[in-house]
Amino acid sequence: MKQLTVWVFAFACLLSTQAWAKVDIQTWQTAKGTKVMYVHAPQLPMVDVELLFDAGSARDGDQWGVASFTANLLGTATPRHDENQISETFNDLGVQIGSSAGRDTASIHLRSLTRDEVLTPAMTLFAEISSQPIFRKKIMAREKARLMTGLKQKTVKPQSMLSDELWSKLYGDHPYAHPVSGTLKTVQKLTVDDVKAFYKRYYVAANAQVTIVGAVDRKKAEQMAEALTRNLPTGEKASALPQPKPLEKAQAKIIRFGSTQTYYTLAQQGVKRGDPDYYALFLGNHLLGGSGFGSLLMEEVREKRGLVYGVSSGFYPMKVPGPFQIGLSTKNTSAKEADEVVKQTLAQFMKDFPDEKLEAIKSNLVGGFPLRIDSNSKIAGYISMIGFYDMPLDYLERFPKKMAELSKEDVLKAWRKHIHPNKMLTLMVGEPDVKPVAK
């Protein structure tokens, strides 16, 4: 591939529209009070279903890793089925199922054919593993050992080292600061009781959301959402997260590691999902480093100088301000030059950028809208985000209008308000040709 994105921002790209490309999002609440997000997509005989909880690693407390561990243990036992029976049932149906946790959310996702003899048993088992799980000591011990091996392996992966360090330095003692899967020390201490307690508190109807996209009609979707949430206790929504404190001054850190490239990031806290300035920040970022080969960073760092294979930037809006981040990797001997070029490019961009570049990027955002909603999985991703972060249902249609309205001044104003190049975090992992210096 000629192109890559070093850091993936799950929801970073949201976009504009043309009148004819409308997504009909429907929403309602189940009897238990769970929000449902639904789009009818009748063309293929398949459906994507997601059960999501406000139960990401930001809810770990001192038990770093418990949120991720809880999500991973779902599907390992219920009162009626053991681990092998569960996997055999899903596999025999050809159904894909998986669970995962991030910082804000934990979720279980299922993709199934919509034929009754497949979908009905699949949904029954889906509801069973999510609302009646049993957490067994033996399985927990086994999964803990596997996770510990993975965590040790992370200590020799430069990308992982960089990412863990970024969240730690950027968020200090905020619940976003620690790694989603925990650390060797904290995971070692986790017990079955910790997992049970976490599950009991957060896997409740009031703290859940159901997303359904596929060839099931509204009535069927209602039945599916009811069945999924019927056996969940009502419970309570998770409490609001604290505001993170932004960096007060520039910080830099190098982690020495014998890789052939230096893995680099320049970062700061950005904005939360729903911030009114996000539109202008997003548009600007698309131009700076968020749109691959159309972007300034790619032009300066890769095309003009050949320093990298990939360079990108992005905002990662979350429940509270998520990071803004520029990332790249380059051979150790050009780390210094790459750092300088990135900083110059950001500074120049925040000073001014050509009008024709702004027009080109607007054109990309408006014209590219249909590409963002051309599959069930993309639509499911968007409506899940819109529901979880309480965005307006017409968010997708609103976006292009916002894009069209924004002027260069709007973009620059938002960037200067939120991004402070003199207070950013610079991280490097590798053997860069630079020395850290105290001022």
């Binding site: 591939m1 000629k2 890559l4 490309a21 997509a41 293929l44 005989p45 681990e83 092998n84 996997s87 899903f90 596999n91 025999d92 149906l93 050809g94 159904v95 894909q96 199934s112 050992a145 596997r146 510990m148 091996t149 040790k152 392996q153 200590t155 020799v156 001054k249 830099a252 850190k253 190098i254 982690i255 590691f257 052939t260 490239q261 080969f293 159309g294 095309e303 003009k304 050949g306 320093l307 990298v308 294979y309 990797s329 210094k336 080109a360 054109s363 990309n364 014209g367 590219g368 809208f369 590409l371 051309d374 599959s375 069930n376 999985s377 610079t426 630079v434 020395k435 850290p436 210096v437």
Partner: protein, 452 residues
Amino acid sequence: MVRIGWFGLVMALAWPAHASISKFKLDNGMQVLVKEDHRAPVVVQQVWYRVGSNYEYGGITGISHMLEHMMFKGTKSLKPGEFSKTVSKLGGQDNAFTSNDYTAYYQVVGNQNLEKVMELESDRMRNLVIKDEEFQKERDVVTEERRWRVEDRPGSKLYELFKASAYVNSPQHHPVIGWMSDIRAYTVDDLQHWYQQWYAPNNATLVVVGDVDPQQVYEWAKRYYGAHKPETITPPKPRVEIEQEGERRIKMKGATKSPSLIMGFHAPSLVTAKNSQEVYALSVLNSVLDGGDSARLPRDLVRGSKIAVSAGASYDETSRLESLFMLNITPSEGKTLEEAEAALWAQIEQLQQQPISEQELKRVLAQTEAQYVFHQDSIQSQAMILGSLVSIGLPIETYDNWVENLRQVTPEAVQAVAKKYLTRDKVTVASLLPNGEGAKSSAVPVMEGGVR
């Protein structure tokens, strides 16, 4: 670099969305395939050239991939970078990929922009301009790509060494991206020659999937791609892999905390097989070992005996040259690579001694059927399957017939291929061992200020 292993099947009962594929051939020999999908006003154009790393020889390895990079660097009428910028302005996405057997270019755009991207793509089929300055910079980019993909990932490096050991004289010996010293030694002439030799309409297939009218696509294809003259295509010399006579074993040390192992056996692909039913049997065998959580490797080795933290199998049924049936394993802490390898052999012996169950066979078919529907959610994935099949010389019907062929596979046939191909004298084993190195984070404290 893309591998397409898993096709689905069609339950003919299935579904009206099972769209027909329109096939055309231009006078200059270029093939055109169009598949309609009207779910969204979006279309993907892919142009596939029958050239990839398996067409290369020593000294210029990776040149197909390098040329892929240069294809974005301008033509007689476009400045460097202008191709992508134009597609971006149209709201489109574009990229390219190189594999062992092919190189392909694609754009995804709103359907009103299809003609424009066809015009652009046809221009660079024959009118590329390779300038030294652009070439030098882009070669640096490719070396960074190699560092990122391979040099800093012990697992990728091991795989590269594994393939170089499993294949001696076949071009599958070398990596798609090429060896670093070969990358550094390319010249503009090498690229110019490679371009002229392979990028011609009669060595290419146009695949279009999306909200389009096939007849209209054909008209545009004639207008743009039809304008080019065909080239004399000389196929590469055979270089058929020598017979393996005894086990091969290598070890590598790298920055890893867990040792791991890859084991592989030469096996036929649909292109090379004398009896294609063997390929379908191997495909079933692969799924029995590694098709979901209930497959044998995760069930027996990760959850059952807990000897491994992960274990898997893979097999590329659609390679143009001979394929490999591969197994990999990462032992649990406290278990050795020898014990992990023995556990894989025990799995193989079980497959050789006892036929798989009817239930396992049924599971493979159910999963394949579902996959067939799921993959249609993406127009890209639909186009990929068509393009890759044609580029290795298989009929596009291969796809529609896939499940039907899997249905012919019996437990005895699976047992027979396990006995025939997974033998100790034909194995290549590559082990990765920790070199003891790690990060030295405590050596450098956080500093205020900047990095000089």
